[in-house]
């Protein structure tokens, strides 16, 4: 695993590769949700804060984060909640999705943030930890992870 120096601290960097679904490059702090986020009553549409009861990141906002999820969960209107949040100025900076599904596909089109999906043999929900700095390249399908130490 390559090492690099940032602010006098040695960090590790890895790259995983999937399929670019929405073009563009985005980077930010990862928000990893191994059980995804439910559609209905999952995200507050004004603040972007996760409101799903018992969710591992309940109380954390998706705004400006690289959202790392396995796929979608729950309501058919999954995309609609991200759409509403985006209209209110709140959205993930980028997405990393282990396996695309139709709900995620619609959310991708609606929100428009760079997205990489479908990682053969790799689970990004395990490869990335919340707080890691992640660069999503929707053009090449590469996801660069600077691990928090």
């Amino acid at each position: 695993m390559p090492l690099f120096l940032e602010g006098g601290i040695v960090k590790m960097k890895t790259v995983i590769k999937g399929r670019g679904a929405i073009a563009g490059v985005a980077e930010g702090e990862a928000l990893v949700c191994p059980d995804s986020i439910q559609g209905w009553a999952g995200v507050d549409e004004i603040t972007g804060v996760i409101i799903e009861k018992g969710h591992i990141e309940e109380g954390t906002s998706i705004d400006g984060r690289i959202l790392v999820i396995p796929s979608s969960k729950g309501s058919n209107c999954w995309s609609g909640h991200f759409n509403s949040a985006m209209i209110n100025g709140v959205k993930p900076a980028g997405w990393v999705v282990r396996q695309i599904d139709s709900r995620v596909g619609v959310a991708a089109v609606v929100v428009g943030s760079p997205m990489v999906v479908d990682f053969p043999g790799i689970d990004p929900c395990r490869a990335i930890k919340t707080g890691d700095w992640v660069k999503v390249n929707g053009d090449t399908g590469e996801v660069e992870i600077s691990h928090k130490t």
Binding site: S71, K73, W78, N83, G105
Partner: protein, 427 residues
């Protein structure tokens, strides 16, 4: 690159108007995101229209502007008010956020009710039929085997894929509208036969007799089902009836992303295990035991006992037979003062309940038959200042926890009616 037919190329060129053109542009982009290679024709749609709360985020009274931004995802103001949706796709409305007639009972204003009515009028003019139910199959909206549909209701998608053999993905409000307008959806996922096979077997070892048993089983399967999986249910049980199967499908689609489920020997694509799995076998097998069942119940029903002042039945919307059950159980009984009691269904079924005499019995007992919505669609206003709510749908009990501080109790319709009669939930 998505391969388009000549007709699709013409729509994309604008031959059928800008609204259709924009809808197909979005569908093509959606197909590219999914990795689909072609599109398929959609012949049935249910749509989340009316004054849905997410429309409030657009500060405008101009429906064209609201629809364009929220559904079509563009700042360009498209003319929705004077355009028809696809002529080849039969469209009905999905559940709304208000009862069809009584806004006050669910804590909403006349101003909201009028806005909802005016938005629905535009949908009507665009060729959308009014149904306002999560269970459109009860009203004759029935995509049959091999037919491609879109819907904004996950339990409906589950019902049509699993029981009817029709083909539909859980797309969402926006993509359902795009498809209803241009008559196309990406040929991907459950629209393709090779993606409809079961991946995981669930052997039922717990009680599987009543609607609530199947509701809890569905909730449990959804909790366990790996991402992207399709369950096949096996074991020694009598096939679930319509009341049970619609609750099963609603609850699986609550705790998982699945919108297809085989029931061995019952569903058309799951007559044998070999057929259900396409001869590939399953990736994993889980036993649903009495302990699993009990664990789900703990998640759905508060362990305390206490006062109940709001009782809601009918998720998904009740069949006439279920309304009859309620009427029979409630006959000559009286709901406790201060308890609001709602039975949710589609409004044609409320009319059938009226002419059948069930409405009178329920109203005489102090209850109401409500239509076109449900507590989680209405939202917080319906709970008012409730201290305890009792529900007979796992989907309601699951989602309502994020909307209220009240105690949430879950049980079968008879236990919920008992709570309405006594004003208490006793553990």
């Amino acid at each position: 690159m998505v391969k388009l037919t000549d007709t699709e190329k013409n729509i994309l060129r604008g031959d059928q108007g800008r609204l259709q053109q924009k809808a197909l542009e979005n569908i093509v982009r959606y197909a590219e995101v999914l990795g689909a290679e072609e599109l398929c024709k959609v012949t049935k749609a249910t749509l989340g229209l009316g004054a849905q709360p997410y429309l409030d985020h657009i500060r405008s009274d101009n429906y064209d502007q609201i629809f364009s931004r929220v559904y079509m995802c563009t700042d360009e103001v498209l003319d929705v008010s004077h355009n028809k949706f696809s002529a080849s796709c039969f469209c009905m409305t999905c559940t709304e956020n208000c009862d069809a007639e009584d806004y006050a009972e669910v804590g909403l204003s006349k101003e909201y009710f009028d806005k909802n009515s005016s938005f629905l009028e535009i949908a009507r003019a665009a060729g959308v039929s009014m149904a306002s139910t999560c269970a459109p199959y009860l009203l004759g909206w029935l995509p049959l085997k091999g037919e491609h549909f879109v819907t904004t209701e996950s339990s409906n998608a589950m019902f049509c894929n699993s029981l009817l053999g029709a083909c539909g993905n859980p797309d969402g409000v926006e993509a359902a509208a795009w498809s209803a307008i241009c008559g196309r959806t990406p040929k991907w996922g459950l629209h393709c036969a090779e993606n409809r096979y079961a991946t995981h077997e669930f052997k039922i070892e717990c009680s599987a007799q009543s609607a609530i048993d199947w509701d809890v089983i569905g909730y449990t399967i959804g909790r366990i089902l790996p991402t992207g999986g399709i369950p096949v249910i096996t074991g020694h049980f009598a096939y679930p009836n319509i009341a049970a199967v619609k609750q099963l499908f609603a609850s699986i689609a609550t705790t998982s992303g699945a919108v297809m489920c085989h029931i061995l020997g019952m569903t058309p694509e799951g007559q044998t295990l070999d057929m259900a799995t396409g001869g590939r076998g399953v990736e994993g097998t889980f036993n649903i035991t009495a302990d699993d069942y009990a664990e789900s119940l703990v998640m759905l029903c508060d362990g305390t006992q206490g006062a109940v002042d709001y009782v809601s039945l009918g998720c998904p919307h009740y069949t006439l037979e279920e309304i009859q059950d309620v009427a029979n159980y409630l006959a000559d009984k009286k709901i406790k003062d201060g308890v609001r009691f709602h039975v949710w269904t589609a409004y044609p079924l409320k009319e059938m309940a009226r002419v059948s005499g069930y409405l009178t019995i329920i109203e005489k007992a102090g209850g109401r038959i409500m239509t076109s919505s449900c507590p989680i669609m209405v939202g917080e206003s319906i709970m008012k200042n409730s201290k305890g709510v009792a529900l007979d749908g796992a989907k309601q009990a699951h989602y309502i926890r994020s909307m209220t501080d009240a105690a949430v109790y879950y049980g079968d319709k008879y236990r919920c009616i008992d709570a309405a009669l006594s004003g208490r939930w006793d553990s």
